[in-house]
Amino acid sequence: MKDTRKARIAAMTDQLRTLGALFVRLGDQSDAAYEAASVASVDPAVRHRLETDLLTPGGAASLLPVESLYKMWADPSWRGRDGACAFGASKHLYMGDPAQHMMALYERLEIDVPPEFAAMPDHLTLLCEVAALYGDAGNHPALRSFLNEHLDWLGAYDAELAACTSALDGSTASTLCTKERLQELNAAIAHVRSLLKEVQNTTDRLEAELGKVEDPRGQNRRNEER
């Protein structure tokens, strides 16, 4: 029974990992990635826009699934003795507290972050991989805590994707952007939102599954943090 549950959770985190892999530039490997994730593929032109304009830092509609960008950069409340970080309350900055924690976590787990993720160790793709690692290892308390702490910003990300669609529609900048490209971009945003929904559904199912085991310590901590 227990092993079945462990396998079920591992399968869900594995699904999370394959979904997470769709949020980076994959080039000609994207078909395989969609297949692995059991998600319907998308028009190559739309996928191309997604990769170059949305998922490339500094791209035309750059909105990366990076945790730091949607949270306060540095919690000002817990470093009083050294003076709070002057930029702590800022958002949309790379390498915030979530990224710092992830780097410390990678070090403990003896994991190397590839150079292309140097500015974003808290990228959704990597977060999903770590979740899968916990799933594979059967460390369910750690998995639950990780989901609570590092995958709780998907709603904020989705809201920004939605806002980006309307900004592009109403922008004077559209003069610099062909109509066709704008349509592709909007399709790309809709697509990434649908992928994000899959991620959210998977984490919801995971949390429901994890919640079946009694773990008052973890539950309390979660409540305090909320």
């Binding site: 500094g58 970080c85 900055l93 790379y94 787990l109 003896e110 190397d112 770590v130 900004a167 610099l176």
Partner: protein, 735 residues
């Protein structure tokens, strides 16, 4: 971990990006509960054990104030103004706090980009970018010669060296600053009068200062604000001549709302009073100037009543100011200004700058305690010519210098490049740290011009409007992520300061400009002039002034040997070695050699308004608006609004906050109105930081209007400045 488990974790079919060690799975099973909460507690307990501090120079504007950045575990924590830096004096302004965050900004450009046929950009590798740019450069040189290439840059310590070296190495003289849209007219004019491009007010000892348009409270340099605040405490009389009561107003004793672009008449009215009432400094004029008789004869026409008719300042006010200045002399000055009202704004800006100098000459305040000081600047001496070989001086004349013979030689007029693209003389343009398209003249004209060029390359940290018009965008790392060459600072004392690499680069691809231009030079076949590192050159330059790179890197700023400043009439570095009321060079250029009146170009029709722009203390040009923290301030306080005087607003039925439409010969746009008593009726004021259109800068995009959209492409005679306020606008309520 078994082999099977390893395969399961990291097999390629799993599409994993992270690479773990053999122990990773076991660690995840046991020590994995290292939660964010636990990490936070550990960090709090660390009590600053990983704090580090390094010096740099702010890039929030062109002042380059000294700062110290403190990092925590390698991450930026706080920035402070450098106590010993003469511009910062311990304080950084809001822009400095905002721009410190650039390194982490989510809308930086992070890898080389290439523009595709449909106008979209695709990321490419550095090697591909260099190769393609070099091929195009070589093609242009072969068919049109190196003089068809140009470089436009807003000077920064490394940038001004490497960009000049690069374009000269390619064989082109066409090297320009941003000046045509900044302080070109003013510095060119001052140069003809005093032989130096600028001067300063001796603030600690002055009794009276007159500002022509400039506002220390808006275009902030912390030391300037400290100086004026201290002077105000001492009851120094501070006069603001500006159609708008700007944010220096709290330090001022007088606000003189003047008709824009007519400051020259106000200044000549003062000169008339000083001469005709015999209030001028005879000793100075007789011993240290040339052309006074001609000037005096001419200035007789410029009575206060004549001036009133042009600039709309009451004659009696002009007389009163002139007499008060004479009484305070020589401990007084007309402040030299910067961009403001005559940096590049009007057809008569060059001449206005000369008039400013003439009034100071009549007051005898040049070099005097409390007056107008011409100080010296240090510079690096000769470095090893084997290691750092000189680039041969390119043949020919810089484009624009012949048509605009009075242009400051250190700046040139970058609008010659715009014109050159239109008429086919220029085929390849490089931009460094420059958003020319958005700010240097009519943006649509810049776009049209750059569309005609065969090659446009921008080196920047974000996808500016100029980048959008470029074929290639090469990403530079941000200011705190790079070291640069030494920056030499003049004044009563001399200093050298440096940017150091305070932060490890956040993104892997962006590079510092020294590396970008050196690598580009190698690709273009002129790498022999770039066979050294920025560290080697910095050390060599510092050695020539008796400083060491170790000391400057540690302290951020080092005072150099005392230049021996003393009060007294300076030796003017003009051709006559005297103050020039008359300039042979100005005459040779076809203008009145004697300092005198010149009108502005555009006068509004009955249903039109004068259109003036200006800075705000929390934004710089167009480059800071996308920073979230600074953008939020603009949005919170509706700073993008257009100012209308209460009287005009009433006539037009416009209430504060209404949406209005502005239209000029070039552009029509809408924004909200700020209705205020702080503006002279008949004038409309628009801050100059807004209206960005780059789709890449989502926070800046579509906020307010871009001032330059309203201004036609034209060039000031003599110097080729952008005449940024030679335009009239209509205003109507639309909502």
């Amino acid at each position: 971990m078994t082999q099977e488990e390893k395969r399961a974790l990291f097999a390629p079919t799993r599409r994993g990006f992270l690479k773990g060690s053999a122990a990773t799975l076991a660690l995840a099973a046991t020590a994995g509960a290292y939660s964010f909460g636990t990490w936070q507690v550990e960090q709090a307990a660390a009590a600053g054990g990983n704090l580090a501090k390094g010096p740099s120079l702010c890039n929030g504007c062109s002042s380059k104030c000294g700062l110290f950045a403190t990092t925590m575990d390698g991450r930026l924590w706080i920035v402070n103004g450098m106590e010993d830096h003469p511009y910062a004096k311990g304080t950084l302004c809001g822009r400095g706090q905002g721009t410190a965050q650039w390194a982490y900004d989510d809308e930086r450009v992070t890898q080389p980009m290439k523009r595709m046929e449909d106008g979209s950009f695709e990321p490419i590798s550095w090697d591909q970018a260099y190769k393609e740019i070099a091929e195009k450069v070589k093609g242009i040189i072969e068919t049109a010669g190196p003089e068809a290439l140009a470089m436009i840059q807003d000077p920064r310590p490394s940038g001004k060296y490497y960009t000049k070296r690069f374009i000269n190495a390619l064989g082109s003289n066409n090297f320009y600053t941003h000046g045509a849209a900044c302080n070109l007219s003013k510095e060119s004019g001052i140069e003809q009068a005093i032989g130096a491009s600028n001067y300063s007010v001796d603030w600690p000892n002055t009794k009276m200062v007159v500002f022509i348009g400039r506002s220390y409270g808006d275009g902030i340099r912390p030391s300037s604000v400290q100086s004026i605040a201290a002077a105000a405490e001492r009851d120094t009389r501070i006069v603001i001549v500006d159609p708008r009561l700007n944010n220096t107003g709290i330090f001022a004793s007088d606000w003189i709302p003047i008709k824009p672009g007519n400051d020259i008449a106000f200044l000549l009215g003062i000169a008339n009073v000083l001469v005709t009432k015999d209030l001028y400094d005879h000793a100075f004029v007789e011993q240290h100037s040339v052309g006074f008789p001609e000037f005096a004869a001419q200035v007789a026409e410029y009575t206060p009543e004549w001036a009133e008719g042009i600039c709309d300042v009451p004659a009696e006010k002009i007389v009163e100011i002139a007499e008060a200045l004479a009484k305070a002399a020589p401990a007084c000055a007309i402040e030299p200004s910067w961009r403001a009202a005559f940096g590049c704004a009007h057809q008569n800006s060059f001449e206005t700058a000369r008039c400013v100098c003439a009034v100071n000459a009549l007051l005898g305040c040049w070099g005097q305690k409390g007056g107008a000081l011409i100080t010296s600047s240090p510079k690096a001496g000769e470095v090893d010519p084997i290691k750092f070989p000189s680039v041969p001086k390119p043949a020919g004349t810089r484009l624009g210098d012949t048509e605009f013979p009075l242009v400051s030689s250190s700046m040139g007029t970058n609008l010659a490049v715009l014109d050159g693209c239109l008429n086919g003389k220029i085929e390849g343009v490089f931009f460094y740290n420059s958003n020319a398209v958005q700010g240097y003249s009519q943006p649509a004209k810049w776009r049209e011009a750059l569309d005609k060029a065969k090659l446009v390359v921008s080196v920047d940290i974000q996808m500016s409007e100029t980048c959008m018009q470029s074929d290639y965008v090469l990403p530079e790392c941000t200011v705190l992520e790079r070291m640069e060459l030494p920056e030499f600072i003049g004044g009563k004392k001399h200093y050298v300061a440096m940017r150091t690499k305070v932060l490890e680069p956040v993104h892997p691809e962006p590079k510092p400009c020294d590396q970008i231009f050196s690598e580009l030079a190698r690709a273009c076949g002129v790498g022999q002039y770039f066979d050294f590192t920025v560290e080697e050159l910095a050390a060599a330059q510092l050695a020539t002034v008796g400083a060491s790179i170790e000391e400057v890197t540690e302290k951020g700023i080092v005072e150099l040997s005392n230049p021996g400043f003393s009060y007294g009439v300076p030796k003017f570095k003009t051709p006559t070695e005297k103050f020039q009321f008359i300039s042979e060079k100005v005459g040779a250029a076809g203008f009145n050699p004697v300092i005198g009146y010149a009108p502005r170009l555009v006068e509004p029709a009955a249903d039109e308004f004068y259109f003036v722009g200006g800075k705000q203390g929390i934004q710089s040009h167009t480059m800071t608006l996308n920073l979230e923290s600074l953008n939020a301030i603009s949005r919170e306080y509706d700073l993008e609004r257009v100012w209308l005087s209460t009287a005009d607003a009433q006539k037009l039925g416009i209430a504060d906050g209404d949406t209005v439409e502005l239209s000029s010969s070039e552009f029509t746009g809408r924004t909200r109105a700020k209705v205020t008593e702080r503006l002279k009726p008949g004038v409309v004021f628009l801050p100059t930081h807004y209206g960005n259109t780059s789709p890449y800068l989502t926070r800046a995009r579509d906020l307010g209007l871009n001032f330059m959209d309203f201004v036609p492409f034209h060039m000031e005679p003599g110097v080729g400045a952008a005449m940024t306020q030679e335009v009239a606008v209509k205003v109507r309520k639309v909502g």
